[in-house]
């Protein structure tokens, strides 16, 4: 979604990152029950999920606040690095 917003819709990197995260809310809420109730028993480690969420909610707040302070260019390079790493991981170990 982020490359789509930047390269096609022409949004700034900061606005694209923020917009993408807002759009994930309805997508996550819609996708969650499909994955959970379609493919048999849900495969979740509840304990790990709970502790992950404790950390990630604090992290998401701090990250969202920090976004304002990161310059556009560094932000764009940061996004690109994460995407290359994920892309390599996906292509090599699907």
């Amino acid at each position: 979604m982020i490359p789509l917003l930047v390269l096609w819709a022409g949004l700034g990197q900061r606005q694209a990152n923020a917009t993408s995260l807002v759009a994930i809310i309805p997508i996550g809420i819609a996708a969650f029950p499909i994955y959970y109730f379609r493919a048999g028993a849900p495969q979740v480690d509840i304990r790990v999920a709970l502790f992950l969420v404790v950390g990630s909610m604090v992290g998401a707040y701090l990250g969202a606040r920090a976004l304002k302070r990161i310059p556009e260019r560094q932000l764009r390079i940061g996004v690109a690095i994460v995407m290359v790493l994920v892309g390599i991981k996906q292509a090599v170990l699907p």
Partner: protein
């Protein structure tokens, strides 16, 4: 609380920071973290990550909305199209070989990242950060 739980909180914090700043749901980071760091299977990693994404995106997304960072109209369009896409994707994924899909996405990410780097190089160094509220 065990050391393992503490590691999960720290992993969550790192994934949350990336999620809030970069705008990813967290799944991109959660899944490899869980399979490599916590030694859970790919299926459990995906299920656990999915459970953690919604609260993470809610906190990050609402913070962005309150700060006025997000383009609300674009978010509506993306979110709406994403809901349709997610349902179609979930129904379609059953009929596709997952390895093929993953490689296609991997290639897409790398190509898009290269375009982003090219844009970053074209961005002026002097561009100031947004004023803080």
């Amino acid at each position: 609380m065990t050391l393992y739980d503490l590691a999960a909180i720290i992993a969550g914090l790192v994934a949350g920071l990336l999620s809030g700043a970069i705008g990813i749901g967290g799944g991109l980071v959660f899944v490899p973290m869980l399979t490599i760091g916590f030694r859970v299977t790919q299926t459990v990693a995906q299920g656990t990550s999915l459970a953690a994404i919604v609260p993470t995106a809610l906190v990050g997304g609402i913070t962005h909305l309150r700060q006025g960072d997000a383009n609300v109209i674009a978010a509506w369009w993306l979110g709406g199209a994403g809901v349709v896409g997610a349902i179609a994707g979930a129904l379609l994924a059953v009929h596709l070989q997952s390895g093929v899909l993953a490689r296609v996405f991997g290639a897409f990410y790398i190509a898009a990242a290269l375009l982003l780097i090219q844009r970053a190089m074209a961005t002026r160094e002097s561009e100031p950060p947004a004023p803080s509220s």
